[in-house]
């Protein structure tokens, strides 16, 4: 009887003949080297987009929301579509770090850092929209419940928009803490390797005086678990509350009890897709294929096909209920405004269906799951599809609601509406480029933690051990 049974399905999480030093070298090297020309080009594009976004927002704040093509019937359009889209993207990070940590999924270590960073940047981008979609953004502080000299006048705790304020800010705070606490040991590593005084100082400050003592590690582990415990319900609650913006309203197409699970599944779906898009590039550019392996990509593609199918079921359920309820208003929204291809926005519904439900089914094939190009292409498709989903929910519900007299003319965005969206891409990638340059994109400490258990090079070392019977093992190793 052999003491260890090795799963035939489970692949190594780290490839190559690595030791601890090599891991550090591999991951920290890009931080210490000069940025490549590619980095500069990318960063420049990102900052340009950001500047365009800033100008678009400037126009909107100065001249009014009329800079956008929203109207009396369609009060929300690209603004809230983009908000929900970014928030959705911001889901994968916490799911990967918190939920997978709790479930002891070792494979998370390769991707969690970048995924968490992406979460934080995505939530930052998302936050811009509810703030700047306000007609009077300079009065935005009215949404804060604090004792004031205006009565005191309190916020309306019944409003889902207020719940959003709490949900998003809590999520952002917890995600940021989680991410940062994970960064501490790695910052310390970078600090210890620093070759200039400035680096040493800055990374020293960032590392919060981490020494790697057992006490530090013990507290770090506890903190990680506590934050993981806090974040896990947030993964579910944030998008649930975002979905309440719609579900608690009276508008046909919004007023749907299915929204919370459907939104959460959609968020994980889009979040994983975004993680895929970024990691496929990062692993290539930084040569981290040994750490972010095909196995990781495979696993995440499985999540994508699962959540994509959940979302698909939700779509079909909505259609079914649109008919089964015999509610003519819902029936119209679901069957005409959305599902009828030749209705004015029919293209967006079928775009969503094609991107979110039909195309991810390709991932039933293992070959496709493990193909980097297919993965990258699909991750883009899924994010486009999820953008369509939010657009479909918001615009096709609003533009033809109860009173036919109020049905809207065709809504298409202005350049400034698009500019705002582009600007958030600029913000996202500016942050991401800086992150990739200055932060370890893979959790060094955590890789080391799984290295000896799941590293490829440690497999041969185990062969002898594996050949031993339990009795021999007990005999040889019982000291």
């Amino acid at each position: 009887m052999h003491i260890k049974y090795e799963s035939q399905l489970r692949e190594p999480l780290v490839y190559g003949n690595k030791d601890y030093h090599q891991v550090t070298e591999d991951i920290v090297r890009p931080i210490e080297a000069k940025p490549t020309r590619l980095w500069y080009i990318g960063f420049f594009i990102a900052v340009t987009l950001l500047m365009f976004g800033v100008y678009s927002v400037y126009r909107e704040v100065t001249y009014g929301i009329g800079q956008w093509n929203l109207n009396k019937t369609i009060g929300w359009g690209w603004d809230i579509t983009n908000f929900v889209w970014w928030v959705g993207i911001g889901h994968a990070g916490t799911l990967i770090s918190a939920v997978l940590l709790l479930f002891r999924q070792g494979w998370r270590t390769g991707v969690n850092r970048a995924a968490e960073a992406m979460t934080i940047f995505a939530v930052m981008c998302a936050g811009q929209f509810p703030i700047f979609h306000m007609g009077r953004v300079w009065m935005a502080f009215f949404v804060m419940p604090y004792p004031n000299s205006r009565g005191p006048l309190w916020v309306n705790f019944n409003s889902p928009l207020l719940w959003d304020v709490f949900a998003i800010s809590t999520y952002f705070t917890v995600s940021l803490l989680f991410w940062y606490s994970g960064l501490l040991p790695d910052f310390a590593t970078v600090r210890d390797r620093a070759f200039t005084k400035l680096r040493k100082k800055l990374y020293g400050i960032a590392a919060f005086g981490w020494t790697g003592s057992t006490k530090h590690w013990q507290r770090h582990e506890s903190l990680s678990l506590v934050l993981a415990g806090l974040s896990t319900p947030l993964v579910l609650s944030v998008h649930t509350i975002v979905s309440f913006d719609f579900a608690t309203s009276v508008i046909p197409g919004w007023h749907t009890t299915i929204f919370p699970p459907y939104f959460v599944a959609g968020a994980i779906f889009s979040g994983f897709a975004m993680v895929q898009s970024l990691l496929v590039i990062v692993r290539k550019v930084f040569g981290l294929e040994d750490y972010i392996t095909i196995g990781h990509i495979d696993l995440m593609n499985k999540v994508i096909v699962l959540t994509g199918s959940i979302v698909g079921i939700a779509y079909l359920t909505e259609l079914f209920m649109g008919w089964y309820s015999q509610n003519k208003y819902e029936g119209y929204t679901f069957w005409y405004s959305r599902a009828y291809l030749f209705s004015p926005y029919g293209w967006s519904y079928w775009g969503m269906m094609a991107c979110n439900v039909i195309s991810p089914q390709i991932f039933w094939s293992r070959k496709m799951r493990r193909n980097v190009f297919v993965t990258f292409f699909m991750s883009i498709i899924v994010n486009i599809g999820m953008w369509f989903e939010r657009f479909v929910i918001i615009v096709t519900s609003l533009y033809r609601d109860y009173l036919p007299s109020s049905w809207s003319v065709y809504y298409s965005p202005t350049i400034w509406e698009i500019g705002f969206y582009m600007g958030t891409f600029g913000l996202f990638f500016t942050c991401f480029f800086l992150f990739a340059k200055y932060f370890p994109v893979i959790a060094v400490a955590e890789i080391k933690y799984v290295l000896k258990r799941s590293g490829e090079s440690y497999k041969p070392g185990m062969t002898k051990l594996e050949a031993e019977t339990a009795e021999e093992f007990a005999h040889n190793h019982a000291h």
Partner: protein
Amino acid sequence: MEQKKHWQSFGELNQSEAFNKEVKDEFTSELPMVEDHSGFLSAKAPRRDFLKYVGFSTAAAAVAASCEMPIKKAIPFANKPEDIVPGIADYYATTYVQDGDVVSVIAKVRDGRPIKLEGNDLSPITAGGTSARVQASVLDLYDTARLRFPLIAGKEATFEAIDTAIAGELNGNIVIVTSTVNSPSTKAVVAEFLAKHPGSKHVTYDAVSFSGMLLANEASYGKRVIPSYHFDKAKAIVSLSADFLGTWLSPVEFARQYAVGKKINEKAPAMSKHIHFETVASLTGSNADEKYLCRPSEIGAIALGLLNAVKGAEVTGVDAATKKGIKAAAKALTENKGAAVVVAGSNDVNVQIIVNAINDAIGANGTTINFGAIVNYRQGIDSEFATLVDEMNAGKVNAVLFYGANPVYTWPAAEAFKSALAKVKTTISFSGKLDETATVCKYVIPDHHFLESWGDAEPVSGHISFIQPTISPLFKTRAFQDSLLKWSGNTTEYINYVKNFWSTQLGSENAWNKALQAGVINPETPSIAGASINGAAVAAATSAVAASKPSTKIELALYQKVGIGAGQGAANPWLQELPDPVTRATWDNYIIVSPAMARTLLNIDLNNGGQADAYEVQPPKKVVKLTAGKVTIELPVLIIPGTHPNTVGIAVGYGRIDSLGKSVIGTGKNAFPLANFNGQTVSFDNSNVTLTLTDQTYPVALTQTHFRYDTTQGNRTEVMKELSLASFIAHPTEIREERANEYRGQMAGGDKMTNEEVLANFEKDATIYPVYDRPGIKWGMNVDLNACNGCGACVVACNAENNVAVVGKPEVLRGHEMHWLRIDKYFSGDMDNPNVVFQPLMCQHCDNAPCENVCPVAATNHSSEGLNQMTYNRCIGTRYCANNCPFKVRRFNWADYTGADSFPNNQEGEVNDVVMNMNDDLTRMVLNPDVTVRSRGVIEKCSFCVQRLQSAKLEAKKASRPMIDSDIKVACQQSCPTNAISFGNANDKHSAITMVRAENPNRNFTVLEQLHVLPNVTYLAKVRNNGEKHEA
């Protein structure tokens, strides 16, 4: 108490010199600054200075950049004028007059400036009703394009200079061209002037004249007059495309009368029956019980057929559908002899003679048509004007004076007229603005606006309505009458002239003062008289009409819009932005075609979902070139069901000269050249036009794009309830049952309830939330859809009362219009000839309002009186409330439309010129100081005129009495000519609102009731007297 002296040293005690020196130089040594010779500190601006400068300049830059706020000053009176109490409104009775139209009004004057007009209840003619144009006329007073001084050859001049110059030129053969003048004193002034200048004459010229009718009456009855009509006494009304609710003769008066026959007493349901022969969809046709489509050229044949039919003869010469209509009309008329009336919009003398014959045959004369009270709204005879043009060409005219008339714009052969005018030496216009005629006149002496004028009007013989100024003239303007008096050598000023005129007539100055205060004098006993018809004239007309064949080509019918009229409303932004009741379009004219013609001409089939969608959601409409003889016009096309398949319509009144103001620039094209003078009268129909589709499109700003409430997923009967009188009588509780069945499923145990139980318990049982008592006042409104004819007076009244911003065409195109009250229009039935219903929709003030609970900052909330209130300065503009409003009545300030923003310079280039013009200091004088001007980024909506409610409550409180219904009239209710809107305290058992709901249980409904939002606005279902069984 004695002051104790404390000291620390003898030096201090003695104030020694050494001590004082030490105190003075306490810090004798230098501050311990490190001497640095690197040059920085020894530079001219050492570190501290540098920091100071940085700090100061940063602060200064920040202050300079951020504190640039537009400064608006409010300066109190140094000396308080008599009669003006700041904040307290004064009301003066006066009269709206424009080109013969007369409506008695009360002007509300705040701080010396008129800001709102209300109908004068003392006038039996309009009975407190107004129209959109009346409501908007107050804005014309503050029009920035008004002439501010007289002109000689386009240059500023003084009155003295003009008087001197003209004195030498007025030497006989003078012609005064006016639109209809129905002012007795003005007529006297004109007569005096004509007497002083021999060979002179007065020609009345109306842009859209009633010559045909006047001449027909002369032929039929020997009197060139128009009798008064009494639609209220008619049980059967047949209209041969006369738009008497919209633009024909006296629509405010007729709307009120018409509504009398349309309002239903549920206990004994009865209605008048209105059969309409329609060429191009019109407001009146939309309200008809039965509507038959016909060509303009068929009207004569139809009139003839109807005459034959009422006499029992056979109907010939018309197609089967029309024949059916004629028979139905004849049946209705003959069944209601003595309580029936026929009117025709045609300007053809023969058609009108035949209509007279029909009216004679059905006993209308002396009952529904009253020759005892002659109306003076239109007196112009087209042929007299045509003769004048010939005389001008022949050089027989020395001088022409234009007052009200604007023939350079409205005469079909305008170019010929212009060249004739060029042959006249002296041309004088009294237009208040530089209109088309004034532009080519040598002298322009701007007249006052009616709110600055003295005067009188006699709309109906014996009924006098007085005009008194409500503000002193804003500019260097002079009354037309004053000029004439001066030029007649009469030194009396017109103000004294009117006063003397009426003091003499009424017997005393006291009586004059009293009459002026009331605004109107009415005859004590209204006289009713018939007239006997001249059979020979009828016979001649019959043979003339029988000889003319209806056209087989595509025909054109020119029409007037409710707001714009013959162009009088074109320069008024409120009227331009008022959605036309028929098309829901703003800011343009266009070609109206039927759905049938759209299929062949435009390749758009409204029955095809995709094509209909594409047509509806895209504002650019296809442009068609219309050719009539030598005249062509290119306009966008709107498809309006209810139009004859081979007839197209174009509104006149557009395409005006730019000098009239920002509102007319780029709005529509002039259609008057498409009319033609046939030697006797001007005809606004053309029986042979050709249409060519161009490859261009042109955006038309529609405020409503979809007009049907049925979908393939079900008929949205919760939105609108309409049924026929026959089915209402047969089954009065049909609507109650329909409502009960709609809600039953939403209520616990609903399936076991009777219909009445469902309705009674709906509020309580269809929710999981507790139901609250609502004691005290509970404001409620009711709109009777049977009385409402969709005229739009309420929309403009709401604009004026509540400072609703004008946004201009580009913004309406983007769905950014701000109207708090809109009139939705729905079609039902056959799309080629549909039933039409209008539904005024304002904030429904839901007791369970979906907008209230979604606002994150509680900017919209519920008052204890049932008002859904909007707190503008709390609003942060998330627009969630607007999204969640099922009625979509909430309006967002997309841009700085009002200049009320704290951001400077953010309008230029972003808002339309028209909007900028509405922000002019002059235009802003029209604003109601009781209502906040909303700034950019906030939501606004109907407030139930809360400022009026508060003031009514306050008045009642000051008088120590409970508030009663008559204390309050909200703006829309007050403006309504048909009293379709009731408003009041629904908790008061005796209030009108409670009564109207209690008396009409079978027609009462609220829109989207199944949502359980519990609106405080109720509607009474539309009942149509068309005898059809309702199929729901």
